[in-house]
Symmetry: C2
């Protein structure tokens, strides 16, 4: 049964894209899972982060979000990682971000587009990288997903942001009666400081057993890997960053 | 002559809000300037970061962006810093983010709202904290500003992001023939690593003399200060973070 996991948090720069690439790569490389990454951000960092230039592509997630029943197999591309493929984004997606003036079924386009590949179990995992906004792209992701991971940088606003994210998800769910499972809150970019320690404890109390045991440390190797357009486990497998994302993949598999 | 400076970069988490608060506080405290901060982000981090809860406010930037000629003096509030005041944001601003369906003069509402206080020189500096999006809020900020600072975290996508930001600004300028001065690119969250060194050199070549000499280092004191809802120079004046923002204020004054 294909699990469809959104990686979402409207706060900017909390490692949504980094987590999408590295969790996906860990599942594909270390566990031989078939993984589809979906880039839902008009800024296309996931896409560029795997060495693809959106401007060279004929069709992308833009077509999926604007043309009902566009065939997603037309846009899926291979990456440098075996068993890891991507449905790329395009800056044109800016036109698809607004709820205003959009037909009533626009938030369901992604869910419908995934129906075929889910029924034929083409993938074990579909991972959706979300933008730093609670917009129509985010709504598409929420309505298409079975699961949600919330990456959290343990600094100011961490839990205020989570409260509005949760409210928004409840609002999206209530209408169509869709259920999404909070797979977990993931502490990211952790530095050994009092500040982070304090906010981690607060986050763990807030989420209880829903807080992943794995904590992703702040590790320059992770930032280097994204500049080299590779997953960190292909850049330096023994680094703390790689080991953390491999541990996260185990938790997700058991989750 | 009032200078109106937007702090903008669509990349998430590159210290736009941190720079708005700390540059504003440095100008107000160290140089006795009268400074107005404007929060243009529906996530209201600047507002919350100064200890204000948007849900307790009768009117905010939401009214400015949706009601033509709403009096901005009705929403300006004091902060814990002498001579530093703020026009707060509200999550309702999500309704004001889209270009679709918006009247042709909506991008000019902020510029028009500032006209009165600019003519009467109520402030030396107006600093506008922008969201991680190239939307209608961003367009309002660009059309209202005399100057622009682009905070840049020297990691992947740094310069790709700048290219699309620049394209968007040109598009906004060309229509109404508005001119905005690039005050400078500001390197933020700098860590002593090869990666950052390489990207800093690339950024300095790209921007030439338009790259601020001041570099803001990654300093946990800055993150602590924002959790305490204070500018870093009021939290620990001698920290590297404080000294860097004080140096930036000097460059901006001479700039
Ligand atoms: N654990 C880590 N250690 C060091 N650097 C990291 C780590 N995780 C992410 N980064 C770096 O931090 C920056 C922001 O990460 P990323 O782009 O994944 O965040 P994001 O939440 O997707 O941002 P946005 O809101 O803009 O989509 C990137 O340069 C990335 O390489
Ligand atoms: N120089 C620094 N050293 C350490 N931490 C910093 C520094 N600058 C900013 N931070 C921290 O990094 C996080 C992101 O900063 P900030 O919220 O200002 O970025 P932003 O660009 O406004 O993000 P967004 O795109 O979500 O609006 C905050 O927790 C902030 O306290
Ligand atoms: Mg991202
Ligand atoms: Mg901000």
């Amino acid at each position: 049964q294909t699990r469809i996991i959104s990686i979402s948090n409207q706060k900017g720069g909390v490692a949504k894209t980094t987590t999408s690439i590295n969790l996906g790569a860990a599942l594909a490389l270390a566990h031989k899972k078939k993984v589809l990454l979906i880039d839902m951000d008009m800024q296309a960092h996931l896409t560029c982060g795997l060495g693809i230039d959106p401007y060279t592509l004929k069709s992308t997630m833009y077509e999926i979000l604007t043309e009902r029943n566009f065939d997603i197999k037309k846009i899926i591309r291979e990456t440098c990682v075996k068993n890891l493929v991507i449905a790329p984004a395009h800056p044109r997606m800016v036109e698809a971000t607004s709820f205003l003036n959009s037909k009533i079924d626009r938030p369901f386009y992604l869910r419908n587009a995934l129906r075929g590949i889910v029924e034929s179990s083409d993938y074990d995992y579909i991972i959706i990288d979300c933008p730093p906004q609670l917009d129509l792209l985010f709504a598409n992701a929420m309505l298409a997903s079975t699961d949600l991971i919330i990456p959290i940088q343990p600094e100011s606003y961490a839990l205020d942001g989570v409260a509005s994210l949760t409210r928004q998800i409840i609002e999206i769910k209530e209408g169509p009666g869709h259920d999404i499972n909070l797979l977990g809150a993931l502490i990211t970019m952790y530095k050994k400081t009092n500040l982070h320690q304090v906010i981690i404890e607060e986050t763990q109390r807030y989420f209880g057993y829903k807080c992943f045991k794995t904590i992703i440390p702040s590790n320059i190797v992770i930032a280097e890997a994204s500049t080299l357009k590779k997953p960190v486990i292909m850049h330096q497998k023994r680094s703390k960053g790689s080991q953390a994302y491999l541990a996260l993949a185990k938790e997700v598999l058991n989750g």
